[in-house]
Structures are given as structure tokens and as C-alpha cells.
Subunit: 423 residues, 2 copies
Amino acid sequence: MSDDSRPKVLVLGAGFGGTGAARKLRKAPVDVVLVDRHDFHTFQPLLYQVATDVLDPATVGHPIRELVHQQENLDFAQATVSGIDLDARTVTFEDWEPQGYDYLVVGLGARANFFGTPGADEHAFPLYTLPQAVRLKQHLLRRFEEAAKHPALVEEGYLDVVIVGGGPTGVETAGALSELFHGVFPEDYPTIDTSALRITLVEHGDRLLSMFDQGISDYTRETLTERAVTVRLGELVAAIDADGVDLGSGERISAGTTVWGAGLQPVPLASELGVDLVHGRVPVDQFLRLERHPEVFVVGDMAITTDARSGEVLPQLGSVALQAGEHVGVTIDRLERNHKDPHPFHYVDKGTMATIGRKAAVAVIPPHHLTLTGRAAWAMWGAVHLALLTGGDSRMAAMTNWFWSFTTHDRPARVLIHPDDED
Amino acid sequence: MSDDSRPKVLVLGAGFGGTGAARKLRKAPVDVVLVDRHDFHTFQPLLYQVATDVLDPATVGHPIRELVHQQENLDFAQATVSGIDLDARTVTFEDWEPQGYDYLVVGLGARANFFGTPGADEHAFPLYTLPQAVRLKQHLLRRFEEAAKHPALVEEGYLDVVIVGGGPTGVETAGALSELFHGVFPEDYPTIDTSALRITLVEHGDRLLSMFDQGISDYTRETLTERAVTVRLGELVAAIDADGVDLGSGERISAGTTVWGAGLQPVPLASELGVDLVHGRVPVDQFLRLERHPEVFVVGDMAITTDARSGEVLPQLGSVALQAGEHVGVTIDRLERNHKDPHPFHYVDKGTMATIGRKAAVAVIPPHHLTLTGRAAWAMWGAVHLALLTGGDSRMAAMTNWFWSFTTHDRPARVLIHPDDED
């Protein structure tokens, strides 16, 4: 399978960017080696559904190995990058021998940015990776089981949740938690007064989902409020501890769980790419390459990606990462198979959406910025995400769980399975 | 919901026995409190499918909480029993206040019995609980990912497996592993010579599945041998270490993984029931009660259960535990609702089956001991287990995964998600 005379494309990170690049190299006369620290690709837009027991982790984490038997020139290694030497064209790993490359595609993602908020690192639950989603899920379930045994805890805010950040992660998590707390758990925990549970969404700016227009922001706030989520706009979270948060205004909100959906920062390896970071992200040229190393491409949340036509900096979204990764794959394919020059990267906006809960979602569809809210957007959200989930089995599993969850108000994935638990 | 004037039935353990008892008390004028250290009921007969990536853990671990909203007189607590005081009629917990009872149903299961085999405790993987199945799964996947990076490991037996015990657990695990190694992994790990992988099943007795007749034992051995499993009969495992096992004969088998399916011993709490254990199990009368404490019932793998008609000691099977638990529920219901005397316990054998792999299983169906092998038994095995899985969503999920696994030779649940992993 590997041929020493063929160029080697090393792809770091099996997110939307890395897998997009790898797949587009299917017909290229190159050997592709895809590397990730996990053996699964994460469908990040649905992590909040793992945390809120709608979907099972395995539905959202899809085996990367499956790509290997779908694509002859692709191999995979589960390994953790420790360093990148651009001049020697070599990547080192914590747990694998160093790998040289002819082309390097870097899509190592980002991590939560707590902006120095005291206590956040220790007490807040980010929702960027699958292990994080599972940890939040287990934390919530443990607390409910504990409160079922000691109902007095509920008054102290033991089950209350504060969500920091009114972007898609915060809004979707708030909506799903509200359903879980007020639709599912009242039947499961009859001894807990679930109507007393408080979910608070704190956003520093003056509206939710600020990438959409004001009408959508208003609809989102109203819908969440109807669903018993307290929305606090123009508020900053100043400190986080195990029992709640302090707002910038000095107000205290008791909460046993604080979810962090407020921002991203680069992974430390971003600083090894020999360029000055812009807002913590790696600047690339219009072909998504490092200016001084045209054999190195950076895609996804790690990069500051600009649309070649509009000149606009694109948001850190899965769809941007996927298209950027695919563009890189096509670029290398053009160079190696067709010996043609690359095209500049142009992002095709296929629409943006967020779901607030049952029968409530928002969507904006190009080219005329058609805006949808409510049931229609919610149905569309389901159809689109079903289509996007990698692998027929994940699609079937998601459909089964969504259908079950919707028709029975139940959460099929609601169990605490931890491999290190006592038996 | 709880009424101080009504008798309180405390059920320890939410396995087949405990949940069987709880469900049969649905109409009884009692308050039922079901306690388990986990928040899920485990469908133990399918644990080997979790370990071999066919089924996702959540399909086999079903939320106990669902029983709570199906049954008005039932409450659940996730807690770990620390002691039982029969005279004071009180159970103490590591993590909950002491609970009194009018009736006590004890179904705390068993744990692996290593029979003092050196190294087993540290190096062998039992398959009795869901966390154990997940640990074995993760161990195997980690080893394959490691060997993909360092192919020389394969020659040292790094990926080879020894399975100790030729009962249903050992046979089913051997069959499923053979399919995984020789049917699924060759495509996933093209750089590993999977044909060199060795699976060895070691049984101390002179045949496999000794609860069946000799013909079934022979069929099972032949089928496993055809599927590249080495069956060693009349052999004892004398010691286990990280790199393999020493047989009683002095022979050494290198293997990076040793699965233990060779026997059970009681949980330590069995010795707190004030009776002399028989073969490590708790003796009960024909009503499944402790002789000196008729308000205490013991069911499942913990008890030595005798069939009241045949006088035979029944095997440690899920079906025996379930029927015993249901019998206890009916008994308490008779006493409290109908004021009638209890009946002695009689076990109805509805058949016994084991699967060896694709299109190969064995089954014995009463009353005439009809024996089935091959495809027919395999199809029946699937239908019966689908019917037995608790909860419509688990059934749908299992059906989806089995269908997928069968038609594509793929394993949808093949990912390593550990909540404590680095992100």
C-alpha cells in the first residue's frame, strides 16, 4: 500500500478538516497517513446531545478506522503529536516514531478559552470534545442520583445549572437541558421537585446567537424563557466555584454545574508553526497554506480562514473546517495528479442552524438569507444532521434515539457507564 | 407515594432477580425501594458483544430509572450496600442513610472466581459486569492501535488472546473475537497480519458447554476450530501474567489478553446473611427465603436455588435469577394483597442457548430436549435475545447494530471513548 516513491501526506487531526482533506485524496497518487489522539471522529455539533442523554456517545464518535478500509491509499495511526519541525519536515509524537512528510495538513482544533476566569479550569464543563460531553453527562446523572437520596440538596442549587456563553453551544445545551429537567426527569425522579430547578444562560453581549439577525436572537430568547431558562444578557461570569458562579455585577448564582460554551483558544502546538498567531489562530494564505511553507496547510478551528472572494474571516464552524479540509485535499490532488495550480479557497455557505428544543429551532438559508424559526426549522435541523452524521449505522442509531426521545419523552442513552467504576 | 403504614420492600441489586421481584410487586400494597450501585440494569448474556464491539454499552445497560416512572409504588436509589443487620432489619450503605425494611430481597450477584490462580486478579479480564466488558473492549482496541504503529509487536503475541473457561461466556467470547479478528479487523488494520493472530480457549474439563449433551459439545468445538480458535481441553491455567499464561502442563502460551470466564464466587456480603454458605452460595428454603428470617429472600447468582419439584440445584443463569425474582415478587404480593400462602419455587426451563458466531449457535428446547445447531439455532438466538432486551429503544439499537454488523461485517460500536481521556 505504501510506496516510497509516492509523496506522503501527513494529516494531523481527524476532525472535519483532517478527514475532509484525507477523503479528497482518494484518487491522488500519494500515501495519506491520518493521525489523531483518539480512534474516533467526533461529530461536534451534536456533543450537547451526548451531554443531555439524547444520543449515545458512540453515535457521535465514529470509528476513524472505517476510512481505512474505504480508501486504499489511507492509513491511520492513533498517536499524540508532540512537536512539528517545519524545516526538517518532520512531526514527532509522544507515542510513535517521528514521521516525515511531503505535505502536512494540520487540523488539530482548539480548546476551551476560559479567558482567565478564576475557577473555570477546575469547575467548568466545556463542551468541545466527546470525553468532555461524557464527563458533563456523568456529572449531571450522578448529581440527580445523589439528590434522589438527599432531597434537601435541591434547595442549595445542587442540581441547578449555569451555562456561560449565548452562542450555538450555550443555546442548544440550555434548550436540551430544559427538556431533560422538565420533560424527562419529573417522571424519573418523582421525589425531586424538578419545577424548582434553575437553568441560567449568561451571555456577555446584548443578544443570543449574535451571528444571526436580531429577530432570530429575540425568538431564541423568548423560546428559552418560555422553556424555563433564565437568560441573562450583558452579564459577565467573573468567577466559578463548585457551588456556583459570581457575575461581574457582584450577583451570586448557586449552581452545582457550570457549562462553558464561551470561546476557544488554540492548542499549544499552534505556536510551533513559525508564524505569529492572529487572535490565537494560525494565519494562512488564500490556498490555506503557511506563507513560508507552501507544503503545510492549516484548516479548521486552528486556522484563521479567509474567504477568497469576500475577504471575510470565516467563523469557527464545522462546515468551514470541512470545506477547508476538502479544499486542501483537492489542492494536493490537483498538484500531484493533474499537475495544475491550486484555486483560492471560497466558502459556500449552505446555511446555519441551531436547535432550541422540541419543535423549536432557527435557520438561515442562503442565498437570500431566508430565515426560518419554529417547527419548520426544527424539522430541517433533524434532516440535515441526519444526513451529515458519518456512517449509516450512526445515522440509524441517531434516528432511532431521536424518534424514541421525541415520541416517548424518554432518554434512551441515560446511563452512567464508566469503565473505571467498581464492578 | 410512600405511605408509612404500608410494608416496605427493600430490594438490593437491580439484576434479573431484583428487577424481576420489583416488577411483580406492581399491584401489591407495599412500597418498593430498589437499590443498585449502578444506575443501569445489565443484560449480562450480551456482555461479550460489548467486549467485541458488536453492541454499544448503552444497549446492554438499561436505565433502572425507567422502572420508576412505569411503576407507582417503586423508587430507586443508586447506593452501595455496606452491611445487612438481619436482627435489626436494617441495611447500611456506604453512601446513604440506613434503611429499614419489612421484606428484604437480596440479589447482589457474584464476582469472578479466580480460584487463587496467580496473576489472575491483576491481569485477567473477567466478563461479569458492564464496566468489565468496556475495559476488555478498550484494552483490545488500544492494543490493535498500538500494533498498527509497531507491527513487530504482533509476533510476540501482543494481540493474541487466551480465554479461560469453556462455558457459555468463554465459547461466545471466543466466537465473537474470531469474527472480530478475522472478519472485521483485516480491513481496518491492513498493516497487521491478522491471519497470524491466535485465539486459544482453555477448558479444564473434557468438553465445551458441559451443560449440553456431547453432540453439542462436539459441534461447538468443531465450529470454533473451523473459525481458527484453538480449543485446549483438559488443560488448567496455572498462572497469568501480562504477556500470557502458563498451563498446568508447563506449556506457555503468549497472549497480551487473557479473558476469564471460568467461575463465580459470592460477593463478600453473602457472609453477612447469618448462614453457612454452600459452595460459596447462600442456601434458601423452597420459598427462596432464609430459613431463620422468612422476611428475607435471596435470589440470583448469590443463592443456591433448588427446584421444588425436581430437587435439583439450578445453574447460575439469568433465566433462573429472573424467575426466582419474579417468584419472590409474587410471594410478597400473595402475602400482602391476597393474604395467601406462598408456593414453592419451580423453575420452568424455556430452553438454553449459546451463540458461536455468524450462522452458528446451539440451543436445547424443552420439554423433549430438542437440540438445534447451526443457522436455525443462530436465528432463534437472535430473536429470543431481541425479545428479552429490556426497553424498546435497546431492542431497536441492538437490531440496528446486529443488522449492520451482519450485512457489512462491520462493528458500529468500535470506538474508544473514555470519559477520563485527555481531550
